[in-house]
Symmetry: C2
Subunit: 305 residues, 2 copies
């Protein structure tokens, strides 16, 4: 099994959409350039959603355009409906990320329609994208896959069933997302196994939050089941809409430190990655940036692979 | 293999010894009583070391005496030499915790003698304790077992060799301690396996820090190798003497959340545990208290075992 790990930095999208302040497009672009220079090859640069609902993402077109100029970078954008997917395609995105909540209640709250309707939307998007001249990778994120702040427990069997329905639409890849950060390692193991049983290697990635402090333990559980792709966010930005003060996405710095220490290859230079915090700290001075490695410094025992 | 986990709360010792402020003995005792009420059955209440070097521990005798009145509580105390061990015995401690650094440099810095000399000291203590009328459990902590801020890499073979020498002194239990928080999950697996090969089930516990954010991932790696006892600290107090701003011990609240979620039994009531933060926050208002579970609240999906 490969020791190469594909990381997708979701800070410019999942991180910034929860931030209190607004980061100007020029600062976002400088930040994305630094992340790419540190070796991150896949970055979710924004989302094509209503600027009224998520004003932080209103400049996604501008930011995406600048990111496309970075050689070797895979540029991802999120959309929640066909209109957004078309906008992402027309802006030149290499990858479309599309969320589908297992929790009906969360699905209605997040995208205004139920799970089945959102699967149908995914199918329409796949049909539309495949009919275009330029290819665009389509990644679906099966959201609230480890519990929901509105519905509570989300059964593993339901996660696998939704993943199977999503796979039938013809998407390229599927991720399981711990949208609210409730996952624990035994649950990650069970959900990944059930989903692999249903859709095999179409399940490629985990999107994890560190809400309860279990983020990297959940990564380890995923690694043990063969998962080799993860979303993460510099400084662990992102927060949690249902819990003020809660932490956000898993921390890219600490994730890279763990993976490289364990002998996995991420392609990321940890020192350069830490340097990329500076532009973020300057642009959003009131936003707390987490990371054990950043606080303690890279230990002298660190030997990247 | 048992699903019961033995937790030792080390906050009153490892947590407070790094704190900037002083916590009065009466507050320590109130805190320890609340920890015990939450279901923690083993607490390291202090250390018998020079009050000039560690003034926060000067009242350990008073605190230990109060803790002995708590029914069902196993009361532990740390000492670094025979004099301290005798003091712990005479104070009535149920368990003596004794550190032995694998790193020569750290051993000299921490206890003023090298590793071999500290193993000899351990042997003298075991002889002395076994000659007394009352039994006292003797736990040795093999420190800097996952790297040293002074020496750097600590070879796994050396960890196992020191553990074997310590086992020969006749101690009851041995823990591996990530004193500076450099451990990663693959290293935990390797060090635990090598130590188990050397001393079998005499290796019972891991003492982990969360310096790099990998604490709970390292717990998971230990669980996977059969480890069923862990040290932790409420609020993740403790810091790291070599890195200002770095976090401390693994967080008891998040550890209990992870273990109980996974189906392990800790005996701890998570709500009561969170309530025990209050006396700590009042007594040491300038000390940051970490914990994802405390910040986000116990999720509605939580089902303790």
């Amino acid at each position: 099994m490969t020791q190469d790990i594909r990381l997708c930095e979701v800070g410019p999208r999942d991180g910034l959409q929860m931030a209190k302040g607004m980061m100007p497009a020029a600062d976002k672009s400088r930040w994305i350039a630094q992340l790419a220079q540190a070796g991150l090859r896949e970055i979710e640069v924004g989302s094509f959603v209503s600027p009224k609902l998520v004003p932080q993402m209103a400049d996604t077109g501008t930011v995406l355009s600048a990111a496309l100029a970075i050689e070797g970078l895979t540029v991802c954008a999120l959309a929640c409906n066909l209109r957004g997917a078309i906008a992402a395609y027309e802006a030149g995105a290499h990858v479309l990320a599309f969320p589908i909540s297992v929790s009906e209640t969360h699905s209605h709250a997040n995208v205004g329609k139920g799970t089945d309707a959102q699967v149908d939307m995914m199918a329409s998007i796949v049909d539309w994208v495949r009919a275009q001249s330029r290819p665009m990778r389509i990644d679906a994120a099966v959201a609230t896959a480890f519990g929901c702040s509105l519905e509570g427990v989300v059964p593993v069997s339901r996660v696998a069933a939704v993943a199977q329905a999503v796979a039938c639409t013809g998407v390229d890849e599927i991720a399981l997302a711990d949208t609210v950060g409730y996952a624990h390692p035994a649950q990650v193991r069970d959900a990944v196994r059930a989903t692999q049983d249903a859709i095999g290697t179409r399940l490629t990635k985990l999107h994890l939050h560190d809400t309860m402090g279990l983020g990297l333990a959940n990564v380890l559980a995923g690694l043990n089941e063969g998962i080799r792709a993860f979303d993460s966010c510099l400084g662990g930005l992102g927060g949690c809409p249902f819990a003020p003060g809660a932490s956000g996405n898993i921390v890219t710095e600490d994730l890279v430190f763990m993976l490289e220490s364990m002998g996995y290859r991420t392609g990321v230079d940890l020192s350069r990655l830490l340097a990329a915090r500076e532009v973020l700290a300057q642009a959003l001075p009131s936003e707390p940036l987490r990371s054990g490695v950043a606080a303690a410094g890279i230990p002298k025992t660190f030997q990247p692979h």
